[in-house]
Amino acid sequence: MKKIIILFISIFFLTGCYDYDELNNLAIVSGIAIDYQNDEFEVTFEILQMKKDESQSTSENSFTISSKDKDMAHAFSKNANKIDKGLYFDHIDIVIISDNVARNELYHVNDYIIRNPHIRNEFYLVVAKDASAKEMIEKTSEEHPTTSAYIMQLLENNISNIHASFYEPYMQTLNKILTSGQDAYASAFIINDEVIELDGVALFQDFNLVGYTNLEEASLINILTNYSSEALFKAKCENDKYIIIRTYDSNTSITPKDDKVVINIDLKAKIDENFCDYDLDEPSVYNDIEDKMIKVIEKDFMNVINLIKENKSDILKIGKKYYNKTRKEDFSSWLNKDIELNVKLNVNKKCLIFEVDYEQ
């Protein structure tokens, strides 16, 4: 009898049935867009919907609901009034914030998001650059019925092309924002010809967006932070001809010195295009290419470092490194120091061809 009572109690209390919800009664939120205009937050949820077509096969679809209010909590809550199902936030892939939110309101957005037990903080944060976040999340097409899934796949797959995208779980982004002497960056998107497109990265200083980079600069930043290794570099030869190399392996180290910051970048590269008169059968030619390319690479990297400096965004953790060395809480001292950049390049892959005689 005792065992039966215990079994009975177990059924009721160990199955979590008090919190139980049928899947059919859940509105699974896959993405959130947050805008801020006229002193109001506008929160848009992208909700997944499974649809059966004529052939009875199930296809994924999505729809959005949106609400405005003076604060995040009310804007979030109001959305619940526009749907007949329980909102479920455990599968959020992407949170899109508008430029205005990123510049001025991320602090408030963050407080609500990390306090909310319903939201799993492992989503990727992205910035809508020249459009509102709502516009972006509503930009679905037949090929991409769910914007958040599209953006997430774009971020993850871009890494196998040129490494201009950057993504990490939000807790890691927050970690960087909250660490003194370190700042965060996130991928920025635009809408170009009705298509959502990666445009570079957004640089933050604490909770505030301070600037953007283009795609090329973003890939160099990824090398500087050791996030990825691929970038393209182009050098001109005589008669407007050019050679392009693609880095495929890199290692960056940043050493804080008393009077300067030393950045050493070790790169391995392959030749992507060669219209210069280089005879790639000749081993010594590779040294010439390396010498030529190092100047270009140094210039490109210095431009990016200066851009980071201008925006006072410590995405390279230099302030933290100085703090670790000196234990002085002057996290911006590196901004006044010279940068010594040492690039080591090893061009050791020629790809599949040596050279083509196009004049033949």
Partner: protein
Amino acid sequence: MNSNKTSYFLTRGMFLGVGISLLFKMTGKDTYIAAIIGLILGLLFNLLVAYIVSKKTSLNELLKGKLGIVCKIIILLVSIIIFMYSLMIFAIFTTSFLLIKSPEIYTIIPLVVFSILLAFKGLDNIKKVSNCIFIISILLLLFSIIGTFGYFDLENITPIFTADIKSTVKAALLFFGATTLPNILTLHLDMNFKDYIKNYIIGSISIILVIFVTSGVFCNALLHTLRYPEYTVLKQITLFGFIEKIENILASVYLFDSFITCTMSIYSIKFFMPKKKNKYFTVGIILVLIYILQKFFFTNYKNELAFSFKVMPYISIIVSIILIIPLIYLIKKKKHQ
């Protein structure tokens, strides 16, 4: 297997949600240093506890005379406090992450029922269950630590020794108290000296490893901010890159700790009840305690916070020290007889 792993769980019993986050609040990323100091301090002290546990023949024989009765009352009060505390941290944890809508009282019912069942079955069964879940606990813990190491960033824990001495000493004392107080309940067990110390060291080191890994994943500010850093860190873990959201399985190690701690405290309460109908007395006390929890703590977060963060740390340190002195005296006295 002769060893008894119950004290491993008791050593860890006070850490979920309160112990670790309170330590982080005090010393931030240097918490693991404070915890190591606390372990050394605790080890010195627990040598005495181990000595008492291994030398006593039976607790009833040891706790004789006026001093014995005083000790009995203190141990009974300790058992009640630990019981309430373990239920409280279990309820806060489950209603914060797992069963958000459920009332706290619902979430503790299965824990209490199974703990009563096991406690009433006696020490042999507690030992068997402890030994079984010890292996699961260690495996899950190792998996958690290895899984989070990918997110470990040395920058998060450097530079070291940034916390002030006062905070470090306070955190070390708290670690000592939190690992020692529940171990008072091992007085009921028949354990040898080596086993006790081994369990204490393994339990403490497992907590220090969790603290160290969490400090390496989250920055100082997040360690101060998060209510459950030791759980939040588990959210990062993915298996083979595609199996995600396994944090609740991994977090069950903390629930095992609460379960054994709760069971031992119920056993201890039962032990001090009059022999006749001690089960009824125990269940009666448990019901009263649950009523108190529901009335004053589950429905009032301020009381819960004050008890967990303000009162309990002091109780754990002071009671551990106060209780051990008369016990040493009693065991020496018995030895001379």
